[in-house]
């Protein structure tokens, strides 16, 4: 019997090694597997490369730093691959000090590099970023009269995923704009670990509505953490 459910955060995080590339979805706090990231802080792996759309959330007085900021503050992240670093953020401070490397790339290129990794495409050409700092050091070729930049697939050693509902095969659904990077990061992770708000019996998820089929998923932890907490 296939059963991908795990019973604890420790079991979910088991075996994540130092030096891993971690794929972390979410747009703002929506669709972000923050509970799994807490588990990663606890688990102890270090020298990590973190792939995340926005590496630095603006500081809000009176609001504690989020899990991403605390992982960075703990000195556990060597590099972020991201589309967005704010100067006034924990990540911004560490980048300015030279203690955190930041590869800042277009959001669509980030998404497509992840999709390519999941789909077995080692690299692709795109016009996005041509003629900008993003293209520096990369091969450029002309297609249809436009300069295009060679971008490489971005696989992860580990993908952390936030789902709305899951079954024991790892079939997943997401909620509204909480889907964002979750399906493509699930595909791009060698070890894909899910936190799910709800779990159900096999066959209960309507097959027409499965967003991520279980082939892309390794472990599922039932964590009914509640709605995302938004600023303002």
């Amino acid at each position: 019997m296939i059963d991908k459910f795990v019973r604890s955060l420790a079991e979910a995080m088991d075996g994540i090694r130092d030096g891993s590339t971690i794929l972390m979805p979410g747009f703002g706090e929506v669709g972000a597997p923050n509970a799994l990231l807490e588990g990663l802080i606890e688990q102890g792996a270090t020298n990590l490369t973190l792939v995340i759309n926005s590496a630095g959330r603006l500081r809000v007085p009176g609001r504690p730093p989020n899990a991403v900021a605390r992982l960075i503050e703990a000195g556990r992240v060597r590099k972020v691959i991201t589309s967005f670093v704010r100067a006034d953020s924990v990540a911004g401070d560490w980048v300015r000090d030279g203690t955190l490397e930041a590869e800042v790339i277009p959001q669509g290129t980030l998404a497509e590099r992840l999709r390519a990794a999941g789909a077995g495409i080692p690299a692709f050409f795109t016009p996005t970023g041509a003629g900008t700092l993003v293209a520096e050091g990369k091969e450029v070729r002309e297609y249809n009269g436009r300069p295009c930049v060679l971008e490489e697939a971005l696989p992860g050693d580990v993908a952390l995923i936030e789902a709305w509902m899951a079954d024991r095969w790892g079939n997943l659904t997401y909620r509204e704009s909480g889907r964002n990077f979750n399906p493509i990061m699930a595909m791009a992770g060698r070890l894909t670990i899910v936190q799910a708000h709800h779990v159900c019996d096999l066959g209960q998820l309507p097959a027409n509505h499965v967003h991520t089929p279980g082939i892309f998923v390794d472990r599922v932890l039932h964590l009914p953490v509640g709605d995302p907490v938004l600023p303002r």
């Binding site: 967005f84 669509g108 996005t128 003629g131 704009s177 889907r179 907490v229």
Partner: protein
């Protein structure tokens, strides 16, 4: 009027700029409205005019901010503000969302800008190549992928320096991508001969607008 005493001239405020650009978005278009003033433009598209708004975090058919009792923390726009979904709207993942952007499916994107050059170059993500804050987001994808790129921004910087330039001095978002610029003073088309002024706020004259612009302006 170049000494700053603009008797009779009232530059548009942020809301006025948003309303001005919204006026030019026709029914049936699929559009992405960037962070800042462009986001406000959605509030000025009348609900009976069916414009389908895309948000890069995976929403097609985004609607306005909902009333307090209908707020859904799972439904946010690219600025992580709570929004709604219009009937007919859809949710997608990030790969599909950016396929809409990069695959040339959007009729229009409206972006904020730091600088626009007379050849259509856009700079809107950093003030220098070495700046710590690097905020590319989806701007490079949108500037290259949408069928039309319009920029909304103040005509000059806070300290009066021009933003409409012969060449951008900040790092580029994309080359030769901008079709129109909406400022607090004027609407300008980017053409092979450079900026063509197609509209000005009431009371403003061409010479005054030129004095606030580094690039050469042409009369529409």
């Amino acid at each position: 009027m170049t000494d700053g005493t603009d008797h009779g001239v009232r530059p548009l405020d942020r809301t006025g700029m948003a309303a001005r650009v919204a006026r030019d978005i026709p029914e049936g278009w699929y559009v992405n409205l960037g962070i800042g003033i462009p986001t406000l433009a959605a509030d000025h598209i009348p609900p009976e005019r069916e414009v389908v708004v895309h948000s890069e975090n995976g929403i097609l058919g985004m609607g306005p901010a909902p009333p307090a009792h209908a707020q859904n923390p799972w439904l946010v726009n690219a600025s992580t503000q709570r929004v709604s979904l219009r009937p007919g709207g859809a949710f997608v993942d990030h790969a599909d969302s950016f396929a809409m952007v990069r695959g040339g499916h959007l009729d229009l994107c409206v972006l904020g800008g730091f600088q626009v050059a007379e050849n259509g170059d856009l700079a809107n993500w950093a003030h220098s190549p070495t700046e710590t804050g690097r905020q590319i987001g989806g701007a490079m994808d949108l500037a290259v992928g949408a069928k039309r790129v319009w920029v909304v921004m103040e005509h000059t910087t806070k300290d009066g320096k021009p933003r409409l330039l012969r060449r951008c001095t900040y790092p580029l978002t994309a080359a030769r991508c901008v079709g129109r610029v909406y400022t607090n003073l004027a609407v300008l088309a980017v053409t092979p001969k450079g900026f063509v002024v197609t509209d000005m706020v009431p009371g403003l004259d061409f010479a005054t607008l030129q004095a606030r612009t580094e690039a050469e302006l042409h009369r529409g």
